[in-house]
């Protein structure tokens, strides 16, 4: 093996390529995210409801309402041409709706879990139903948005035709749920009392801290591989923009969600109360497709898989993706497999 001091030529090449990549990144500026045509069909208190695509034929297609998490922005589902879950769903013949949560202002710190998972979501469901002239909707809940969708379906099952959950935490206390362990003893009353709305940078920092070597070092050194790949650099820049853009969290929602689920695991314990009603996953009887990632470090597969033990659906199936929490939205492999499979599953259940 060579001694370390013999790596001069390799170091020179790495330096040159890194300089090239970073120089190009500097010139790229802030790249646009979101490529699919859409319109706002409802503006509510704390959210906008978007409808994608165009044309009269949307009415004849199978519709799906995407419920994204409050953490980060939903644009990772529409990152760029060739990496857009939304575009793939549209291409698969779906009429796609998406809830865009608005950033909470200081005066919104008392906005609670129920406001999102019951009231705002219900407004969107009713709007989609009205626009489609249908009595029920298909929900696609992503990550925390999947948990919202589960709660909503348990409470308003008569409005949900089919439910798809994607990388959705259900059992927050599985052994490999590192994030849950980390926040188990955080004094949420004090934290929320201190900040009001919890800064997005706080959450972002925690997420990055879960894979510090990979997310803090390796992905940047890997820029040397993109020195001759301008499109790859633009994708990198878009991902960096998305990762860094983490909205603040409404204080009360943060306290209720983290306290109720991460700390007390109330959803699977049948102790979660929203809007004065106990959320009983056993009330979910509609068809359920549970999509999860086998290498998910944020929402371990075990946390998602637990859903099978709690819903009463006789039509329950799973789609396992051999990748991670972000890869399931943007990787080439996921793009080929996940959205078409979700669309086909929904279209078979009109």
């Amino acid at each position: 093996m060579k001694a370390p001091d013999n790596f001069g030529p390799e170091l020179a090449v790495l330096t040159q390529r890194l300089t090239q990549s970073v120089g190009q990144l500097a010139q790229t500026g802030l790249p646009d995210i979101g490529v699919s045509q859409h319109e706002t069909v409802l503006t509510g208190q704390g959210f906008r409801l978007l409808r994608y695509g165009s044309g009269a034929n949307r009415a004849d297609q199978c519709a799906v309402l995407i419920v994204y998490a409050l953490v980060n922005r939903p644009w990772v589902l529409d990152l760029e041409a060739g990496r857009s879950t939304i575009a793939r769903l549209i291409a698969s013949g779906m009429d796609v709706f998406l809830i865009e949560w608005e950033d909470p202002l200081a005066q919104d710190q008392d906005r609670g879990f129920s406001d999102y998972a019951c009231h705002m979501l219900d407004e969107c469901v009713d709007t989609v139903s009205a626009l489609r002239n249908e009595s029920t909707v298909n929900l696609l809940g992503v990550c925390q948005g999947g948990t919202f969708s589960l709660c909503y379906t348990a409470l308003y099952g008569h409005k949900v035709r089919n439910l798809v959950t994607m990388v959705t935490p259900v059992d927050f206390h599985t052994e490999d749920n590192v994030l849950s362990k980390w926040v188990r003893k955080v004094d949420l009353d004090k934290l929320v009392g201190c900040y009001g709305n919890v800064p997005g940078t706080f959450l972002n920092a925690l997420f990055l801290a879960m894979q510090p070597f990979r997310l803090g070092s390796k992905k940047y050194l890997d820029l040397v591989d993109l020195a001759d790949d301008p499109e790859g650099l633009r994708t990198f820049a878009r991902m960096e923009r998305w990762i860094a853009d983490s909205p603040d969290q409404a204080g009360r929602t943060f306290r209720e969600f983290v306290g109720g689920l991460f700390q007390r695991n109330a959803l699977v314990a049948g102790e979660l109360v929203l809007d004065g009603k106990v959320v009983d996953l056993g009330e979910i009887r509609c068809p359920v497709l549970n999509v999860y990632a086998l290498a998910d470090h944020l929402v371990p597969a075990s946390a998602s898989r637990a859903l099978a033990d709690h819903v009463a659906s006789t039509d329950y199936s799973e789609l396992r993706f051999a990748g991670g929490h972000i890869g399931i939205y943007v990787s080439r492999d996921a793009q080929e497999k996940v959205p078409p499979a979700v669309a086909a599953w929904l279209q078979k259940r009109p």
Partner: protein, 168 residues
Amino acid sequence: MNPDASANWASAILGLHQLLSDHLEKAQPAVPPVRLPEPTDWLQTMARVTAPGLAPGLAAPLGLEGLPAHVERDALWESAAQRYRAAASALHAAWLEIGSDTFDALRQALGGKSAPQDLRGIYDLWVACGESAFARQGATERYADLVSELINAQVSLLLASKRCQPKT
């Protein structure tokens, strides 16, 4: 591999790390974030300013921006600062253990027949060893307690600092 050689490898990897860091810091592109995070970066992210009265290099809690450089410290503030220093130090000590475990694993891997021969490969191996060491430590109750205590201590310090702000 003998210990001296191991130290050289560590130095080479850290040199590459520093090179990367320097390049990214010089670049100043419009795309955030390009600064290379440090292993304790989440502390730094939460702590964008130096808290008044804290030791140099010790991160301060998010939200202290705009506080005067000198606050009217009282016993409560001193107690909160002491708690925060202890929590940060304890997590830092855990990180030193992770770093040490990482290099032990790297040393062992570099002694194998399929060890990479190039600097990039060795850097990637160091990352893999680091993530593996971190995954073991990060999932323990002890590490979880360190993280939650740091968050709680930061919040206490922030609250104490806000309380000590001069009334305007």
